[in-house]
Symmetry: C3
Subunit: 151 residues, 3 copies
């Protein structure tokens, strides 16, 4: 059970409020789920703000990436009602809010990738892109979007 | 009819010239359409140039995003011959040309999301990522790519 | 044969080592292949490092993009065992490590697009996004991810 493993990390799915905006946290299309870009929101606050390599350490960036990945799973769980309907994590796109000279985006992205593979095992092994950007919503340290495949 | 609603915004589809480059404005793959990244081109000129939060206001950025979204629809219309073949707008990825301290990318992206939902209603509600970047083609303020699902 | 044309460019597929990380170079999902973001690695070294428009010329950026595109094909070939199983190149997303005032990302991306169309002909014509970013893994000049459709 994914939820059991999540609890070991201290994460628990909550019922998310219905978004007021004209976009949605996740969408099903054929047998795929695409999430919106998720930032490291915890209880309505961005937990890690700023640019990695300037305001934040790599370790903080990795933790931010893990929270983003959890928030992707939350969005999927909220859509499907059951995260165990996921067969495979297909793809992560990881945008790292980066100082202009920061080049270790893969390490930051590992904060998400390692978390996902710890949860899903072989079925968690995904394709991934990690890029640096000079700005993210609400000054988030990381933004991640996920593609997952349904059973 | 989408075209009727577009006219209220002052937009009208035109026959696009065949692109000379080795990429295409939109492609159908299974029951999905993927567009190329579209910039706020109007009559062959970029209407909003520069970085939001530095050279451009948020309102200008939002309007740029709306034009990008229209250009995505134009690319789809040109491919399909009829925009009404679209069943659902699935995903927008919104790249905002941003000053290094600009963090309100979601507001800029709303310029596109609100436009799409005004046109398509519930079927326009999409997943979305909004990120800041430090440079876009032709110094465009915004670049948007769209995924849509066919009926 | 794609391999024959690749040889004219001086490229040859090699057996890639199994990645040690928790993500994979490419994944099949339904009849699509999605690659991870590929950088201009040649024999384990990034061949073009730095920001286009600052440390690198446009010509160097274009060549970096070509290598990224080849590395996408390598990842696909390694997954499928035969690149000729590809029916269509669907999409390229091209991230260009850019000086803050660099706006010619489409020219850099043409280094990849022209290469792909030279290899695949009409079936190589793809949708494309090209954006500038302020940082990429290992200080790579370009990062590209590819979507391809199987026969």
């Amino acid at each position: 059970m994914i939820e059991t493993k999540l609890k070991e990390y201290g994460y628990e799915f909550k019922n998310l409020p219905k978004p007021l905006a004209n976009y949605i946290p996740a969408i099903q299309i054929n047998n795929l789920i695409l999430t919106s870009g998720q930032v490291p929101l915890v209880d309505g606050e961005i937990k890690y703000k700023g640019k990695v390599g300037k305001n934040l350490t790599e370790e903080e960036g990795m933790k931010a990436a893990e929270i983003c990945a959890f928030n992707c799973l939350s969005a999927i769980n909220n859509l499907l009602g059951d995260i165990n309907k996921i067969e495979r994590i297909v793809k992560l796109t990881v945008f790292v809010n980066s100082a202009d000279d920061f080049v270790n985006q893969p390490k930051i992205a590992n904060g998400a990738s390692d978390f996902i593979v710890n949860l899903f095992g072989e079925e968690g092994k995904h394709a991934r892109s990690a890029v640096g950007v000079n700005g993210l919503p609400l000054n988030a340290a990381v933004e991640i979007e996920m593609i997952a495949k349904l059973k």
